[in-house]
């Protein structure tokens, strides 16, 4: 059993980190700039984000590699740097993490399998390349996230599982439909996700992004109902973005997020963290609530 899973099995609720993308933007990343390129051009800024979350009390932090698949990087003519950018991402987070854990982030490729834009083999190779870079840089686990297509999620999990010795985690992004069910953009329900990605090799599953932590409660309940054992991770957005005076703001405050943490743990979550718009302040409040429990 991996190190992170081991801690969870001891009955601990762990705290993950908050947003990276929106944090990078605050630090001056421009729209249209490649976030992962900063691992080489602005390593100190990236390190500062990682360190902020460690100081806020995260038990695990992610890496600045969400969009570092060959398919995304080729839009910036950086496809050939895939391995290096992922390795650098993990090295930076590892340096900040010390004894804490590093989750190597892998996001969707943006290409659609069922439209014939790409083959399963090509997707597999791309995820393998990314996972190998993250492992080489010192990641403790691979965090496949924001998936909406079940096939892509399955291939990513399989590629990471079969080619690294790391624990493989996977979360998908769900929205509430007009009839009140949870579905991904591609129509996958939390229940449908569970068996497929566990079979592919994921040892921790869950949900990330979306509309805020309130919606996550129902998603976690649904996953827990489908599988009573599997550890569940939640990375929730700080609500839906609001546009104010030329910039976008995520409205959910650290206190609002923290207030729902007991409920999300009661629903079955084992790891709680944030996604878009959450800050070290959010994480520090979540840490406090969990420590008080």
């Amino acid at each position: 059993m991996g190190k992170i899973l081991n801690k969870i099995k001891q009955g601990k609720v762990l705290v993950s980190d908050g947003a990276w993308g929106t944090f990078l933007q605050q630090k001056g990343l421009k729209p249209g700039e490649c976030p992962e390129e900063w691992n080489i051009s602005h390593p100190d800024e990236v390190f500062d984000i990682a360190q902020n979350y460690i100081h806020a009390g995260s038990d695990m932090i992610e890496t600045n590699s969400f969009g570092a698949s060959r398919f995304k990087l080729e839009k910036y003519n950086l496809a050939e740097k895939t391995f290096d950018l992922n390795k650098a991402a993990a090295e930076i987070s590892k340096r900040a993490a010390g004894e804490k854990f590093v989750l190597g982030s892998i996001g969707p490729t943006g290409v659609i399998l069922m439209m014939g834009e790409v083959t399963e083999q090509e997707l597999y190779e791309a995820f393998k390349e990314q996972a190998l870079g993250l492992e080489a840089g010192g990641a403790d686990a691979i965090m496949i996230e924001t998936m909406t297509d079940l096939d892509e999620a399955r291939i990513a999990v399989k590629a990471a599982k079969e080619n690294t010795s790391l624990e493989v985690f996977c979360t998908m992004t769900f929205e509430k439909t007009v009839t009140g069910e949870f579905r991904s953009m591609m129509g996958v329900s939390p229940t449908e996700m569970v068996e497929t990605i566990i079979d592919a090799g994921a040892v921790l599953i869950g949900a990330n992004c979306g509309n805020g932590i309130a919606g996550m409660v129902g998603i976690v309940e649904e996953i827990r109902k489908a599988n009573t054992e599997i550890p569940i991770l939640v990375h929730a957005n700080a609500g839906m973005p609001v546009y104010q005076d030329g910039e976008t703001v995520f409205p959910e405050t650290p206190d609002e997020m923290a207030a729902l943490v007991p409920e999300i743990i009661a629903a079955g979550a084992n790891v709680v963290g944030g996604c878009c718009g959450t800050t070290p302040e959010h994480i520090s409040r979540v840490r406090k609530i969990i420590d008080e429990k």
Binding site: G32, M114, M115, E181, R183, S184, P241, Y243, G246
Partner: protein
């Protein structure tokens, strides 16, 4: 005749591209939009009738079901593929002028944003509702939108964004378009966009789903 047309409409609605296509499983081995559209033309049904009475109603049904969350992106993509397969047979009639598009819709993902799934989905739905679509791609700057609007007179423009960080870019582009082409109608859409945002940036229309946009576009020409 009407039976054939309703069969074509069903192929569009359920995303049955051609006989060889495995999707949807319950129509395996049956003729798809490809074969049936050709058959309709061979039987002497007018291209305009096939478009108006089979393809457009089929696409409309998908658009409505998508808005109601009864189907999701994969089904829409399959329907759009079936639609474009059928449209290949109608192409000569568009070129000869026998069949006309309802108008021209210019679309692009705004500067700073490289995401194209939503933009492509909207393009396909608008095209599938009888419009000519000029797709400017991703990371499109204000002057590119303006140039396209000047080239295609009386077209309506759609701005797409996925990233929250590119919303300011949407505002900038909307203002630039309104200044350069005061009569231009600007529609905005994408995951972070709301009607409140639309109002703030001075755009004309927002919809949370492609069908809403299609209805808006059609209302501008009917």
């Amino acid at each position: 005749m009407s039976q054939l047309l309703s069969k074509i409409a069903e192929c569009i609605e359920f995303g049955k591209i051609n006989k060889a296509a495995p999707y949807p499983p319950d129509r395996k081995g049956q003729d798809g939009a490809d074969e049936l559209t050709k058959q309709a033309l061979d039987e002497g049904i007018k291209a305009q009738t096939i478009l108006s009475d089979a393809l457009l109603p089929g696409m409309e049904k998908v658009g409505i079901k998508f808005r109601e969350n009864k189907v999701f992106v994969p089904q829409v993509l399959m329907s759009a593929k079936a639609m474009s397969t059928a449209m290949v047979h109608l192409k000569p009639y568009f070129l000869s002028g026998e069949v006309k598009e309802k108008g021209t819709f210019v679309i692009g993902t705004v500067e700073g944003d490289l995401h194209d799934i939503g933009k492509n989905l909207v393009s396909m739905m608008v095209e599938g509702s009888g419009w000519k679509v000029v797709d400017l791609g991703t990371d499109v700057k204000a002057d590119q939108f303006v140039a396209a609007l000047k080239e295609h007179e009386n077209s309506i423009v759609g701005l797409s964004a996925l990233l929250t960080t590119t919303m300011p870019s949407m505002e900038k582009i909307t203002k630039a378009i309104k200044e350069a082409v005061p009569n231009a109608k600007v529609a905005v859409g994408g995951a972070p966009v709301t009607d409140n945002f639309r109002e703030r940036v001075g755009a004309d229309f927002y919809s949370s789903n492609p069908q809403g946009l299609v209805e808006y576009l059609n209302s501008q020409v009917d």
